[in-house]
């Protein structure tokens, strides 16, 4: 393992410190927690707070999205490990200005349970809390009898939409309805060229040969659905768009937002090339996305790979929400 760190046991603590000290204009840390909240307190007055979070290792998610117009707080757990309820609760308390708090949770057993417990704690304090569980990763088969799908990069769109609506005064119930309506329109799928190395583990989550890729991996090195020889960018795009099309029939008469997301070690050069092929592929279907974003938005530490999110803009207002100005480190 070759990383710029000190003690693997302290990576989260030191990282959060570096982040808030580097960007005091946007974020601050609730002492002794992994809760990162907005510095601009005035921007939260009278608004519903939006709190997200999850395990660390997905930087700039989630603290990078804290700021006016987007999240009110983000709670960071240990690497790839859900944060604990007391820390989530600390964030909820800190950002509640009387209008309640909305939680954005990714669909992992750990996140769901810890956020639920934090919600219970907040309700004991009479803070109204609602939440959405994001499950955009279509690589996983969905079913009523299972955990269901993972929450991955599409969560960033959820943050953006809810943050814009909250900043414009949406109530907790309105945010809840909005989140429910948005959720089924966000679909994500990834391809990995190499797995992430968790500092405390010291070796990659899985091994891929020099010429191998894996489709459908998660953001914690969860295995995907198929391993094969490295393909040209065009072919990767065809596979990923095809899978999304199977789920969410892509048609020329609809509006879409896309997120091409680098996993951490994949340079922008490759992400832009992938985007070029993506826009060609969509173009062949008569689709020109109304909104595009390319970069490292929901990473998996130093994994190499790309995820593709396609978000059907079923309501034209959602595009305004995506374009709504924010003051954050990373959107």
């Amino acid at each position: 393992m070759k990383k710029i760190i000190n003690d693997p046991a302290n990576v989260v603590d030191e990282m959060l410190d570096g982040l808030v000290r580097g960007y005091p204009q946007y974020v601050e840390r609730i002492p002794n927690t992994g809760a990162i909240i907005r510095s601009n307190k005035a921007s939260m007055q009278g608004k519903v707070g939006i709190v997200s979070g999850g395990g660390s290792g997905h930087e700039p998610a989630h603290p990078g999205y804290v700021g006016k117009g987007m999240l009110s707080g983000a709670v960071a757990g240990q690497v790839f490990t859900s944060p604990t309820p007391d820390q989530i609760y600390a964030a909820i308390k800190a950002v509640n200005t009387g209008s309640g708090v909305f939680l954005v949770v990714k669909n992992y057993s750990g996140d769901v349970m810890n956020f639920d417990m934090a919600k219970d704690m907040a309700e004991l304090d009479d803070i109204p809390v609602k939440s959405i569980v994001v499950d955009d990763d279509i690589a996983v088969k969905d079913s009523l009898y299972t955990q269901g799908r993972r929450g991955v990069a599409g969560t960033v769109f959820m943050h953006k939409i809810l943050g814009a609506a909250a900043d414009q005064g949406a109530t907790l119930d309105e945010l809840d309805a909005l989140a429910q309506k948005v959720l089924p329109n966000i679909k994500t799928i990834a391809v990995a060229l190499s797995a992430a190395t968790v500092p405390e583990v010291g070796k990659p989550g899985f091994e891929l040969a020099d010429d191998e890729i894996e489709y459908g991996v998660g953001i914690h090195s969860e295995p995907g659905y198929r391993r094969e020889k490295l393909q040209p960018s065009k072919a990767l795009v065809a596979e990923l768009v095809g899978k999304i099309d199977d789920e969410q029939h892509l048609t020329a008469d609809k509006q879409y937002a896309v997120l091409v997301n680098g996993m951490g070690a994949t340079p922008l050069m490759e992400q832009y090339i992938f985007t070029h092929d993506l826009l060609n592929n969509l173009g062949d279907r008569g689709i020109k996305p109304a909104f595009t974003k390319i970069g490292n938005y929901m990473t998996s530490i130093d994994m190499a790979g790309i995820s593709l999110t396609i978000f059907e803009l079923a309501d034209p207002q959602w595009l305004d929400y995506l374009n709504y100005p924010v003051e954050t480190i990373a959107w």
Partner: protein, 196 residues
């Protein structure tokens, strides 16, 4: 009816902490092919916090002891196992001082786990160890074989809850890491001699 005392419970927790420390890497390895490779570090972080919270402390009753354990687990473990083990001890704390019958305590703990995580028996989670073990305790017949069989039974299951569920059929052939750590919990309980 098997009674639990504060002293026996502390012994139990010490034994559990020792087992987790000894098998930290093994638990994380089990969590690698079908999870995210952190179950050992999660549990070890939690049990270190538990020991810091209870070591050398005098607890008036099981309620205080289990509450301290629950809070340490809930606030230090994170992930899926933190809320699950934390809830288990929280539910036992709720009964603690009125009812020290192990069968009742563990029954309440299991109900809490099932409510928190929504897993049923057969979903390849620690519920698959807790369920037969609690049955056996209530029947006065818990043995190491019951524990081992329960742990091993998870190997051939298809995961329907937790990270392993993302793998579907491919989760078959692997022990469930949370079941293995729960196995250590009950092995430590037997080792206190409470059933002897």
């Amino acid at each position: 009816m098997t009674k639990l005392t504060v002293t026996t419970a502390q012994q139990w927790l010490d034994g559990f902490a020792a087992a987790i420390a000894a098998h930290k890497d093994y638990l994380s390895e089990l969590d690698t092919p079908i999870g995210d490779g952190d179950h050992g570090s999660n549990m070890a972080r939690g049990l270190t916090a538990v020991q810091a919270a209870i070591d050398g402390q005098d607890f008036a009753g099981l309620k205080d002891l289990f509450k301290a354990v629950a809070m340490a687990l809930i606030s230090k473990v994170g992930g899926a196992s933190g809320p699950l083990y934390g809830t288990a001890f929280l539910e036992m704390a709720k009964l603690g001082d009125q009812d020290a019958d192990l069968g009742h305590l563990l029954d309440a703990a299991l109900a809490g786990i099932r409510k928190r995580g929504g897993a049923a028996p057969g979903d390849k989670t620690l519920v698959d160890v807790w369920t037969p073990v609690v049955e056996a305790v209530k029947a006065g017949s818990l043995t190491q074989t019951v524990v081992d069989d329960a742990v091993n039974s998870t190997k051939d299951m298809v995961a329907r809850k937790g990270r392993a569920s993302y793998l579907g059929e491919r989760s078959v052939g692997h022990l469930d890491p949370g079941s293995v750590s729960s196995g250590y919990l009950f092995t430590a309980l037997i080792a206190t001699g409470v059933f002897a």
